[in-house]
Subunit: 365 residues, 2 copies
DNA sequence: TTGAAAGCGCTAACAT
DNA sequence: ATGTTAGCGCTTTCAA
């Protein structure tokens, strides 16, 4: 790789000053035609590509937004790496079943990310993507934060103190319900209403009364969903469980254990209301494998509306989040904050849509 | 937003020099404990986030890779924007059918991009994403090129001269068969073999002889696929068509026109071998709507292996590209070139897998 | 219309 | 172990 040409090289070759070169790129119309052509010719001949780093430095802003995400499917990364090792052309043909793939992609984060991408493009921003989940996640997020004008993060990916720290420097939006009311912007959905109306449906339409809530209450969103669940039960005069039942984190093996345990104790409820689609999908699979017929013997529902739920058998009843829209809203807020840095942080709550499919007992559609 | 603190601020507050601050961040273990703590405390108190721009400038490399992609579904962007306008919480509930969604996402580029993301993370690189399709695409790609150490592009998204230009500065890999043999690296698949073996299957297993190839020969990959198609026909003693039949670019309306025309002329072939899944899907839909029964009356096949083909009815027979792996290979090459800038450009060809599903006449699986 | 010069925030020798 | 000092490549007043 030859040394990268700079403004100086171009200036010298075009016989002008670096200021003129810079100016020519910024406002071509404000330069004499002859100089412009000379500069452009020189730039072209040299293979000049302006350094966005230097530009960003000089201007104080980079023109890029950042998205920090997370591999919620920890196991998958490892599997993917194994696959990656046989990447030569002469390697064994890779046999990943497409059904299998759908469990890994696209997930919730992927669809939100897509929204972010689309809106970034529309606004003329570049998008810097980073992800953690592993050890030095904190370093990574700081690294990204250092190269963008605004940052979006999925909840639970970055310690809140780190986020606050970053938020002192650039606008940050977190994709969750506002929990610790602070300097962060938020984009979220109406978790409570969504879960309440889903649960209400199970009770009134399908006559289910013994309902388990499956999922960890480790995020404000999950807690809101649990709240919606309890609220619907209470409204129906059913005493809601105090705590969720054991979550399996979307992992098949764990789901199998949970199901085996339940079966052994003869404690199968009327339905499992899961905090996410992934949780529900893993559970459904474990139930099926254990010989439980869905949804006849037990109903299962999810939350998110990911593709895999649409393709599963039975098709998964769920609460769909407007993921692309959420991604767009994120960018919208960030750009807005950039323009008006002194506005207080904003929280945007988007509506959800309950999608009745087969896994709750509704007929196929 | 308060003024962003810099090394100078931290240094002053910690009572050390800026070099020490920098060093403390780079090699915390090489600094006296007391100073380290002082610096970290100051940084924390100030909300200091190092500027990756300045760092990149000073170091001569950014630690980021770039991916420039493209909206192959031109119409969709517009539709998405319309949706984006009703982004307030009080807006009408958004009703996008999930089936509809799958036609837009995830597509080929999305799955490849995912591979790029995963591998970037594994290697500790940040990923800068940009996309064009609209007017100032050239500016966008230059912008991205200016902020990364290496760039990946999908074919047909950037004029080859621009690519060459950029390749003089940083390593570039194009996701296509090497066409113009130049300074670019390439990642591609065995298009010829894939299409040949798919076509061979149609001929020998299903006895189809009158086959149309659908798609534009506007890329080296597409030409290779056409070549594979012809080669299989020739091997079977069938005279291959000289040119493909009219492509519809994956657009429903156009597909409907093409089908209507064919039907009118009574010129329905035994099968349509489409250059991509999107092409095939649009065609299948048009055929179904026109009352043609698939695959009994006519077979349809695709190429790529996108999710939508798996979910379509009948399920689409196709040639699956190892998209995630391709994305990973891209990063692999880029990182390699970065380490050894003087190596000649590399081309990596990955194997494909023919997936027999229903649309060619095979039984459901 | 163009040039000179002062940074932007950080790193990396080299000194101490 | 820490400080000094040049830049890195570009933008941007301010002059000319």
């Amino acid at each position: 790789m030859p040394k990268r040409p700079t403004v100086y090289d171009v200036a010298e070759r075009a016989g002008v000053s670096i200021a003129t070169v810079s100016f020519t790129f910024r406002r071509p119309d404000k330069v004499k035609v002859s100089t412009r052509e000379a500069v452009q010719a020189a730039a072209h001949a040299l293979g000049y590509v302006p350094s966005a780093n230097a530009r960003g430095l000089a201007r104080g802003r980079t023109g890029a937004l950042g998205l920090y995400s997370f591999d919620y499917l920890l196991g998958s990364t490892e599997a993917a790496c194994r696959v990656a090792d046989r990447r030569r052309a002469d390697a064994t043909v890779v046999r990943l079943d497409v059904n299998e793939d759908l469990r890994l992609f696209p997930l919730y984060v992927d669809e939100v990310q897509r929204g972010v991408e689309l809106e970034c493009r529309r606004r003329g921003y570049a998008l810097m993507i980073g992800a953690g989940g592993d050890a030095n996640g904190e370093a990574v997020v700081a690294d990204i934060a250092g190269r963008v004008d605004g940052l979006a993060v999925f909840p639970g990916t970055v310690p809140v103190e780190v986020l606050r720290h970053i938020a002192r420097r650039i606008p940050v939006v977190e994709l969750s319900e506002p929990s610790h009311d602070d300097s962060l912007n938020h984009v979220t959905v109406d978790n409570v209403a969504g879960m309440r109306s889903l649960t209400h449906h199970l009770i009134t339409e399908h006559g289910l009364r013994d309902l388990n809530f499956v999922g960890a209450l480790d995020s404000s969103d999950n807690r809101a969903r649990f709240k919606g669940f309890r609220s619907a039960l209470r409204a129906a005069g059913i005493r809601p469980p105090r705590a969720p039942s054991a979550p399996c984190g979307g992992q098949r093996e764990r789901a199998a254990v949970v199901v085996g345990d339940l079966l052994e104790r003869g404690a199968l409820p009327d339905g499992f209301v899961c905090v996410t689609d992934q949780e529900a999908l893993a559970l459904m699979e474990a139930l099926s494998e254990a010989g439980v017929e869905l949804p006849r013997e037990v109903a299962v529902t999810g939350f998110d509306g990911i593709v895999a739920g649409r393709v599963a058998r039975p098709q998964l009843t769920t609460v769909r989040q407007p993921m692309e829209l959420m991604g767009r809203a994120v960018v919208d807020i960030l750009v807005d904050r950039l323009a008006r840095p002194d506005e207080p942080p904003e929280s945007r709550q988007l509506p959800v849509q309950v999608v009745f499919r087969e896994s709750c007992g509704c007929p196929p559609r």
